[in-house]
Amino acid sequence: MKSSVITFPGSNCDRDMDVALKKFGFKNKMVWHNDAELPKSDLVVLPGGFSYGDYLRCGSMASKTKIMKSVVNFANSGGIVMGICNGFQILVETGLVPGVLLRNKYLEFICKNVFVKIINNNNAFFKNIDIEVLEFHIAHNEGNYFCTNDQLKEIEDNEQIAINYCDKNGNTEEQFNPNGSIKNIAGIFNKQKNVLGMMPHPERMIDPFLSGEDGSLFFSNLINNLK
């Protein structure tokens, strides 16, 4: 399986993603934002970080780079694309997934483990994961997912919600929401479910010595689903 990780100026989880993808069997290539062509890929990842310093709206500058034209074309032709954290912010700026990401409710950066409940596993990302709740890790300042009521209805009707913040038993009450996102949303799909944007970083959960191992479960499952 071939994967590509895009490096924007200011990306800082690109190496971590490279390490994770390779660990679970992907042949990964790092792709520079200024390249026009995407290498042949089974998976394209927009990594976390602070592309262009997040000085404008998070992700907005990166969404206008040369490579993103190719990524959008790739996604529109059914290619599997995943945006993590800043990558999620870039995805909403391209319009590949609906909504926006606002500043966290308590106006603070949050770095901690969270639990997420898989809402839709009928897709390449979560198919065959037989548990409902995963322990993931978040590290962000702007993860407060927001959309209009009409958009929300559409997202729900199309089953585009991927994962919601919850407690370890899968309860999705507001109190388990770290950043104030609407409906506890932590990640969403596009309509076709080949594009996933999510705030948590599975690449930081690939080793028992790190924050946990549910990232290992996620990646090993992902590569099998793509085969």
Partner: protein, 730 residues
């Protein structure tokens, strides 16, 4: 502008210093030259009050590759890997403008590290704020934490450990000390020593603006009521540009184009150009019209003294200009050839085709003033007699709850949750433990780092305090299973022109030196921050020690959380019942006098090294050093982290129970051992003449003392975690 004595004094120079400048130059300096002298001769850059004493610190060791004098210290960790590290203060700017002050402090120290070719792999910080009741404290704390996070998070470097203390002596002068560790291959370390004639001098990074002009001079003076006027001397940080600069520099460093490199930190272009030339025994010529400027009509004076951030100066091999430019173009950074090295041994600056500066470099560096300031030796205070009846009325669990919720003991999670501590995917011990630990990427090794200070002990008796803080750093590394290698120190003091403050400095340095020498824990880098005072009131003497250690096999790392019910808990090291200057004495008995606990270097070394042997042999389940709050505070924290309880039984000592549990005797650790290893562990401790007491057995939910008083772990947690959160959200 005409330069005279008054202009020199306005630049922070003393009258005698101005006279010396005129003598050295054999003429009156022009305003640009005066600016350069004032920048190079201020306390921050010249170390004029401290140099004499810093020389006494031990700086060599078998693992030391580079000691003080470079951008940072470097130590060998085997397999051609080396760790570059340093701690630095950004106190004055952080008080004036907390967000930018703290942010640029973090940016500056990271630049020192990657200037040497190392990729930063961990950040730490040591923060001291005024009393929580002081009306400025909350906003300063919030601003500083946001600033540190804002910069470090954007850079993608994990902030893995730190400490935050509160004391009214910092009401008018907070301390923000930032530390960074970087990883480099031993044969790819870059230095700041220029070499060769007519080599191009390159400017890269951000453009030069009018921000931070005379920042280093501001940091070399006390504060007064006009402090707000100093806001323009604070630099503005741009972590995004620094991230690009980091990647571009490391890309250029992978080749062989660089002869010397120096970041533009304090005193900007002035100190970076002069330091490179001075170390190479060369001259340097710069055309200031070539310097990329952010604003129009900047004068030579402003260009030379700007402290705009995210800039580097490089002496390049001839013929490599195009190759280098390509890399900086790729990263969208400014790149300009602004001058060359010469054999004049002078700094010569040109602007609009006129020479505006002509100063022999040795007058700025070797001939800079050095003072043997007057200082007063501190007496060891007399011991207090604690009345036994005062202790009898205290309920131990109430005291414990108070201690756990004390601002200087309580959990700092509100702070470190705002720092990205997991990026780079190698953080195996997060903030909140004895040391932060990161793996050396792709290897079995890990590096542990901790930052400590004990201002109360240093204030009570500087010599003992200086020793103690080095020992505490040593213990924090050992507690996670790391072999201590070396330290970096950030020496925060009041005015060196005051005999008492100077005495505190001299004796703390002496204490640090004695402990570092005995423990074979050399000082490889650091900085001095004097004038942490507002009008006549100085801070408590606060040396911050950043320690670095190596874990050869990261799978053997130890954490402090209690692991298993029925395991046995021991305390290593003798408890004499030293209460003076303890958190208990100061906050519960309200007794602020008395000597700090004595430091016995033999015991420190012996206890620590023995514990390392036990850890290496796999006998230890959890460990934690005993520091402020004593045995019971350490044990309670291990209960909280592990979500376990303990049945404590005081050994039969002559001292009272409260004294036993809250005393702050040094050289102690709490360790957890399984029943089947207990005999083996006891044998090893006995064989090495290490004193130990058996404290009790781990249970699954409550902390008991003598089977009488008890408290649930949830209660302990509430006491420990709520104070800071509540304080900040009030």
């Amino acid at each position: 502008m005409i330069v005279n004595e008054q202009v020199a004094i306005d630049h922070g120079l003393k009258k005698e210093e101005y006279i010396k400048i005129c003598e050295l130059l054999k003429r009156t300096p022009n305003i640009t030259e005066l600016g350069i002298f004032s920048a190079m001769w201020n306390e921050h850059c010249s170390y004029k009050s401290s140099r004499l004493h810093l020389k006494k610190l031990p700086t060599k060791g078998k693992q030391v590759i580079q000691g003080p004098g470079e951008n940072a210290g470097v130590v060998d960790i085997g397999d051609n890997d080396a760790i570059v590290f340093k701690i630095e203060s950004h106190n004055h700017p952080s008080f004036i403008e907390p967000y930018q002050g703290a942010a640029t402090g973090v940016g500056g120290i990271m630049r020192d590290i990657f200037t040497m070719g190392a990729r930063p792999i961990a950040n730490l910080n040591s923060l001291h704020f005024g009393s929580p009741q002081n009306k400025k404290t909350k906003n300063l704390l919030r601003g500083v934490v946001h600033g540190i996070g804002g910069y470090g998070n954007c850079m993608g470097v994990p902030t893995i450990a730190g400490q935050t203390n509160f004391d009214s002596s910092y009401n008018g002068n907070i301390l923000v000390n930032a530390m960074t560790l970087g990883l480099v291959k031993k044969d790819k370390i870059f230095y700041s020593k220029a070499a060769g004639l007519n080599k191009p001098v390159i400017y890269v990074g951000s453009k030069t603006g009018r921000d931070g002009i005379h920042g280093a001079s501001m940091a070399s003076a006390s504060f007064d009521e006009k402090i707000e006027e100093k806001k323009p001397t604070v630099q503005v940080g741009d972590p995004f540009t620094e991230k690009l600069l980091l990647e571009a520099c490391l890309e250029l460093m992978a080749g062989d184009s660089i002869i010397a490199i120096q970041d533009m930190g304090a005193a900007g272009l002035t100190s970076s150009s002069i330091e490179m030339a001075s170390k190479g025994n060369l001259g340097i010529e710069i055309n200031l019209n070539k310097v990329p400027c952010r604003e129009t009509k900047m004068t030579p004076y402003e260009i030379m003294l700007s402290e705009s951030q995210e800039r580097m100066l490089i002496v390049l091999e001839k013929g490599k200009e195009e190759k280098a430019k390509k890399i900086f173009d790729k990263w969208n950074l400014d790149f300009a050839i602004i001058g060359k090295t010469t054999n004049s041994k002078k700094i010569e600056l040109f602007f609009d085709n006129k020479q505006v500066t002509d100063i022999p470099i040795n007058t700025l560096v070797e001939n800079s003033p050095m003072y043997d300031r007057k200082w007063k030796k501190a007496k060891l205070p007399k011991k207090n007699k604690i009345k036994k009846e005062d202790l009898k009325n205290l309920k131990i669990m109430d005291v414990l709850k108070k201690v756990l919720s004390n601002p200087n003991v309580c959990s700092k999670e509100w702070i470190w949750r705002q720092y990205d501590h997991t990026v780079m995917g190698d953080t195996i011990q997060k903030p909140g433990g004895d040391s932060g630990v990161v793996r050396v990427h792709g290897s079995d090794k890990a590096v542990a780092a901790s930052v400590d200070s004990s201002a109360v002990y240093c204030w009570a008796h500087p010599l003992t305090g200086g020793k103690q803080v080095v020992c505490e750093s040593f213990r924090n590394l050992i507690s996670v299973g790391a072999e201590p290698i070396a330290i970096t120190n950030c020496l925060n003091f009041g005015s060196p022109e005051n005999e008492d403050n100077m005495g505190e400095f001299v004796e703390c340095v002496q204490g640090i030196g004695e402990a570092a020498k005995y423990l074979k824990f050399p000082v490889v880098s650091g900085n001095v921050s004097f004038y942490n005072q507002t009008k006549e009131v100085g801070i408590k003497p606060t040396p911050s020690i950043g320690g670095v250690g190596l874990i050869k096999d990261y799978k053997k790392m130890i954490t402090m959380d209690f692991k298993e019910v029925d395991n046995i808990v021991l305390v290593i090291g003798k408890t004499e019942g030293h209460i003076d200057q303890s958190l208990f004495a100061r906050n519960i008995l309200d007794e602020k006098n008395g000597p700090p606990p004595e430091v016995n270097l033999f015991n420190e070394k012996n206890n620590g090294e023995t514990l390392l042997k036990l850890i290496d042999a796999g006998h230890i389940k959890s460990a934690h050093d005993v520091s402020i709050g004593g045995i019971i505070t350490a044990v309670a924290k291990m209960c909280i982290k592990g979500n376990k309880g303990i049945n404590l039984k005081k050994p039969k000592y002559l001292i009272n129970e409260i004294e036993y549990y809250f005393a702050e005797d040094q050289g102690r650790y709490i360790i957890e051992v399984s029943n089947d290893r207990l005999k083996k562990v006891a044998d090893i401790l006995n064989k090495n003449a290490v004193h130990y007491d058996e404290l009790g057995t781990i249970n699954d939910g409550q902390l008991f003392i003598n089977e009488k008083s008890k408290i649930t772990i949830d209660e302990l947690k509430t006491s420990n975690t709520n104070w800071l959160k509540d304080y900040m959200n009030k």
